[in-house]
Amino acid sequence: MKKNQHRILMGNEAMARGIIEAGCTLAASYPGTPASEILQAVAAFAKETGVSIHAEWSVNEKVAYETALANAMAGRRAAVSMKQVGLNVASDPFLRSAYLGVKGGLIVISADDPGPHSSQTEQDSRFFAMFAKVPVLDPSSPREAKDMVRTALELSENFELPVMLRPTTRVCHARQTVNLSPPEILDRPARFEKNPGRWCATPQFVRELHQQLNDKIEKIAGEPDFSPQLTAGDDSFPGVALVASGVVFAHTWDLLEDLGLLGRVDLYQVTMPYPLNGDFAHRLTLHYQRILVLEETYPVIELQLKSEKVQGRHSKTVPGQGELTPEVIRGVLEKFLGLPETPAATPPGGGVRPTLCAGCGHRAAFYAIRETFPGGIFPSDIGCYTLGMNLGAVDTCHCMGAGINQAAGFYHAYAAGGDEVPPIVATIGDSTFFHAGVPALMNGVIHQARFILVILDNATTAMTGHQPTPEQGVTAMGQPARPVFITDLVRACGVQFLRECDPYDIPGFMSILQEAHHYSRAPEGGVAVVIARHPCILDKKVLAGQPVYEMCVTEDCSGCRHCLDEFECPALTLNEATEQVVIDGVRCIGCGVCSHVCPAGAIEAKRKE
């Protein structure tokens, strides 16, 4: 390829390019916003450059981490990527790998989501790295994120321990021109050197390994390359220092420029928030009287500075929750620097609530569940189907795979208390089921809980961008994979009642749910599983392959709003003047399901030729 190529890349794509250029031979991931595009781009760049790399969508983040780890143990460079809560799933191998270390470099990309925009917590992966004693780099832009991939891998190999790269949503999904270089081909055949004292590390070896880890961290904290960089002021604000990291540094830079203060107040960019350079921490608290730390989302840098002169999230000078947007930072800066405060612009409330797409099979399934069990408890899980909240058919959403365990827990709560047990119908998606559903289902069967599990199988991992599940039999690189089927897994868990149905057939589906309920309450019964199978209609091939109906609402519509409130399809709208329901021809995909919904039978479906 030509030298010095430039291309506009998304932050995730830039990191993927970095992974390829630095000679990684294995990349593993599980989809999660905002990190999902990383592995997709690794596969795309691998094809474009002809580089040989094993890139996989692993079943979950713990699996991804351990797979990548072994590549690094065998002396080859590896990358694992996930969203911040995925790190929770991978926490067991992550924490252990700091002690045992690696031979080839291992980069752990954990993408945070301040706000959050699409996550169940706002946790800070840098804090996790501090807990694990793993160094972490904090990029402020797509360009920096790409460069830091190589830095992380080199550091990882120099010190033989994993290194984390922590982008946030605004870096992952920003686009910027970056330099492209040809990929480095490292001539390193896989070589696993046996060393049970290290790689098995039973307790008697751990104390020594911990000592080594502590020494490594201390050395890294002394590396001048990772000392924060200063953009010096002109003494307009003597004794004052601003310390920022990540995209918050970039916002702060633009804000200072806007306020005419760039180059007038001392501004430090921290690229390695942990371990914070020891010399820097010492000099900072010695030479300045007032120090403001701007970082997301937990006070990682602030806590390492250990001085009363330091203000930040911990000292409540900076809000302790929510994203540090430019508007929020501006308010904090104006107060801290004693500038006139501009009134905060309040964004108008309201907006369009997200909802399942018109024609989504999940909507039909949730409607059927609600209609069959009006007094039921509905533990659920994470995915597009969480939007079943809008239909009143999702009562809990905790973390991957939790819905099934909660269903069992609710059963034991009511049954052991001697109370009448309401119907319990848990829902889980296909990808989520592969991720964490199997141990949960198995446990429910073993301990004789009684509930219904509906597996919502739309043949994809939809919310994060339609990545393949193990059932599809295709890899991240588009090669054939050996498929594993949900029905086989369900039977292997010991389930004795298993049915499948297309949820579009609402009456059929409802009768199967009734059967399932009778089974779960019968003396010899237990956990009943129903698979609701209808592929995601955002796939054009699926749409082309299913019957299309011409939908219309007849004069029999009484304006009872049952379809609007209980079915909630975005193609159903109310004509305010006539107080009757009208079908929005642009949004309707002609699935025909709403014809089952109207109590007056006023919605008609005519098969289109």
């Binding site: 190529q5 916003t33 492209l180 916002h251 907006g351 609530r353 797409c357 994060t464």
Partner: protein, 226 residues
Amino acid sequence: MGICPIPLPQSLKREIDCRESRGHRPRLPRPYGGWERGLGGGQGPSAPGPPPKESILPMKQQIIISGLGGLGALTLTRLLAEAAAALGLEVITSETHGMAQRGGAVISMVKVGPFKGPLIPAGSADLGLFLTLKTLPAHRFYLKPGGAAFVNTATPGDYFHVDGLALSAQLHLPPVAANLALLGYAVGKGGLFCGADLLEKVIGEKTPERFREMNLQAFQAGTAVE
């Protein structure tokens, strides 16, 4: 597929400080002369002055692109970014992902010039492209006082508007082409950091083959709207 920045003669590189026009009705720089319509408070047209001696293109510009999922906001974001890169300008953009296809409102931001961060603070955007009137109330507060709003709608109001859907229908193009019509309209009004010729080149090179003809037609129709 790399981008080779087009070297510009020195005279074209003049920085326009967009902050100077805060509180005043900004003059939208036009490559070929004055401009016709008032901005913001619906004030009447000003008499066009003599055409400027050189082309004045702003070196720093902050643009928001607002719409609902599926209306093509991301396409416009990427085209504007590629246009900036083609001019040798620094650019950084931000996007909303995920919930967009589930009917939510989306906003993208394009910052042309030496910015470090991808977000535009409220009250700082020089102009906004609104793919539907529905999201104007939600996102308008990002515009600076006097910042121009270009809206794809048939309904007149205190903004520039073009009926992109009607234009697309006239040309027998699908409704989604309205986004390119809106872009063409904004360029035609002299609102953007780049001209129509460069954008046509970028559309030709950077949009998928099967949409190219449609995109160019919609774009050109937009530039011709009064």
